[in-house]
Symmetry: C2
Subunit: 117 residues, 2 copies
Amino acid sequence: MNIKAEHFFKILADLTRLRVLVLLSREGELCVCELTHALGEIQPKISRHLALLREAEIVLDRRQGQWIYYRLNPKLPDWTQVVLTQTTEGVAKQIPFSRDHRALCQMPNRPGSACCA
Amino acid sequence: MNIKAEHFFKILADLTRLRVLVLLSREGELCVCELTHALGEIQPKISRHLALLREAEIVLDRRQGQWIYYRLNPKLPDWTQVVLTQTTEGVAKQIPFSRDHRALCQMPNRPGSACCA
DNA sequence: CCTTTATATTCATAAAACCATATATACTAC
DNA sequence: GTAGTATATATGGTTTTATGAATATAAAGG
């Protein structure tokens, strides 16, 4: 696959999308309602940003019943994978990224009742 | 030093700034007229983007006579350094980055008469 | 002083990005 | 079928960002 560096960074240049990517990187796969709860944002906002990530082929989605699960695209070019990994590690302990993770773990009635490590 | 991930990526999310950073990463230090020639852009445009990079503390500048030389800030956080390095390696052979480097090497009357490897 | 060269900044405009609200679609269960 | 939940998209407004053109500043050399 092919992604222009400029476009790749444009996608990362928004706090909401960055928070989504950091969470997906830590958790592997999350549905829209989990992301909405973790970030404390309204659902259309999350969906719009997920659409941008999906169009850029940075994330993949799959439907399971009424839920749609998103995950990082494993076929990203090597250098973008390193960039994403480094970014995730670099900011995971900072606000608001650490708070997002905590909120996710405390989400009630989480579909699939997944549990954060 | 302290730079927010979101802001860092906003800075990288512009093709002109990315070209400047890739060149600086390869060459170490370049003055404004070298960057202007290498990218084939008008001088105010380059200066404006350099100002943004300088304000974000991603690059440092030093005056030498009538020239002002720019270089990457060595005190960037580790993760941003890795990101920059990976980006540079990832795009160095692609257009327009490869072309910028060639244009720089072919610049006539280059101050300091530096020579690209 | 004046001229030339290098660099920075200001200004007005145009394009892009983000947002909240409202609405539409899709699935599930009855 | 209807109701409820999950997700997506469309609309209109506001803010941000990039741009070219013009102008300003600073150094060097007469």
